[in-house]
């Protein structure tokens, strides 16, 4: 049985694979459908890719979250990179490195139920997302 909490250091493409694997296993363990598990893996990919492109290194923490009447998964992507100067711009469609509409951070926001971003220029970025089991 996977642990309630896992941390994956991100500094290469292989690390992204590992984070996806851990996230998917946790999602399945929590009873998410395979479709939702795929969406969770996708969110992890996007968040990890952001770390690689903007901060070079950082980490992804995965946690099972239990509320009174539901269960879910929380994904925290953190880095101590250059930070985001303009969060609103970063959250705008088509801004991210992907360049495509609907991908990147705004895409992640739509896939997850909760989304929080904190960033300080020069000190890094923390993105926290949660998805609850339907």
């Amino acid at each position: 049985m996977p642990a309630e909490e896992v941390e994956v250091a991100i500094s290469s493409d292989q690390d992204i694979v590992l984070a996806r694997q851990k996230g998917r296993a946790m999602a399945v363990e929590l009873g998410f459908s395979s479709g939702d598990a795929t969406l969770i893996a996708t969110a992890i990919s996007e968040l990890a890719r952001n770390i690689l492109s903007y901060a070079r290194r950082g980490k992804i923490s995965l946690k099972m979250v239990h509320a009174s009447n539901r269960q879910g998964i929380s994904i925290i992507a953190s880095d101590s990179g250059p930070g985001i100067r303009d969060i609103r711009q970063a959250m705008r469609d088509g801004f991210s490195t992907s360049g495509s509409l609907g991908l990147g951070l705004p895409g992640v926001r739509r896939l997850m139920d909760e989304f929080e971003i904190a960033s300080e220029p020069g000190h890094g970025t923390i993105v926290t997302v949660k998805k609850w089991k339907q």
Binding site: S33, D93, L103, G107, R110
Partner: protein, 325 residues
């Protein structure tokens, strides 16, 4: 006594069951009917907010089931499961993008509604509030004039005339923004009123020919009025046209409205994709029409004038009909 009319809803089978049945039908006997069911399922899936991956996974489960029943099929089960997972992964970014598009459409609808409210507010402010201030100015001027000798009195009279013109113009703008004619008499008289104003201001000859009469449901009338308004604004602003023809009619069960000008025309594809104001105007027109089940086609080329054609299924004209999705 008022009797509540209940819409009869056909009991729908659970999605997966219906999917499995249609899949079995098609893979056993083929036929367009089963494909039609598949199409219907896709529409239902969108309504029920099923993700692309859920559909992919259902598809593969159904395939799995079919294969298990076939001789030697069991050998391929593992391959099939892996293929399903792989497909779901490649679809995942599409799902993300799809949700983005849905959000954007919802935002655009919301924006249209907000805009309509805002327009109402401005029209009211221009008409009533500015009108009241003008009345006060008139009274104050009359006070001043009373104490003045005759030559100056005449000068004040000229100011009053100018004020009257201002008032008239303000009233006209206010009515064009949100014509009471639109609510009272319908969109065709409202368009006539609008065309008259634009014609004078922009020096355009606008001809309106209509072979239909009667009212349409409120949201449809507002949408059509706004689209014609945008089209006339474009014609006046960009087209360098001298004439505009508006034709409103009905062909069989399709209701048509075309707006044509003899202006310079434009490269439709370039304008539609440039994302600037004019491109957005065209997209917003299309979106308004989507909201009422209509379509817009644009024919234009440099030096060849512009023709916008709005088509709307006649059913949407019936105020009592509701859209069944």
């Amino acid at each position: 006594m008022k009797t509540a009319t209940k819409r009869k809803t056909k009991r729908q089978a659970p999605f997966e069951e219906e999917h499995g049945a249609a899949f079995a039908e098609y893979t056993q006997r083929g036929g367009e009917a089963a494909l039609g069911r598949a199409y219907g399922l896709g529409r239902r899936a969108i309504n029920e907010k099923k993700s692309l991956m859920e559909i992919a996974s259902l598809h593969h489960r159904a395939l799995h089931g079919r294969l298990a029943g076939l001789k030697g099929g069991a050998r391929h089960q593992k391959l099939l499961a892996a293929a399903a997972e792989f497909l779901a992964e490649t679809l995942s970014p599409y799902e993300m993008a799809h949700r983005g598009v849905q959000d954007a459409i919802a935002a655009l609808r919301q924006l249209n509604e907000t805009l309509e409210e805002e327009i109402k507010r401005i029209a009211y402010a221009v008409h009533d509030e500015a009108g009241q201030i003008l009345v006060a100015v008139h009274l104050a001027l009359a006070d001043v004039a009373r104490e003045l000798p005759k030559p100056q009195k005449e000068k004040v009279g000229r100011i009053e005339e100018l004020l009257n013109q201002v008032e008239k113009q303000l009233r006209r703008y206010s009515h064009e923004l949100r014509p009471t004619v639109l609510d009272d008499l319908g969109w065709i008289p409202a368009i006539r009123f609008l065309a008259e104003g634009v014609s004078k201001r922009a020096n355009l000859r606008i001809q309106i020919k209509t072979t239909v009469a009667g009212r349409l449901p409120g949201p449809v009338e507002i949408a059509l009025y706004r689209i014609v308004q945008e089209a006339l604004t474009n014609a006046a602003r960009h087209s360098k046209a001298s004439r505009v023809w508006i034709r409103i009619g009905r062909k069989n069960r399709i209701f048509c409205c075309s707006i044509e000008d003899d202006g310079v025309g434009f490269d439709v594809q370039a304008v539609q994709s440039d994302g600037k104001r004019r491109g957005l105007g065209l997209i917003a027109m299309q979106e308004r029409l989507n909201g009422i089940g209509g379509t817009l086609s644009i024919e234009s080329a440099r030096g060849r004038g512009t023709r916008l054609l709005i088509q709307l299924p006649a059913e949407t004209q019936n105020a009592n009909s509701h859209r069944v999705s």
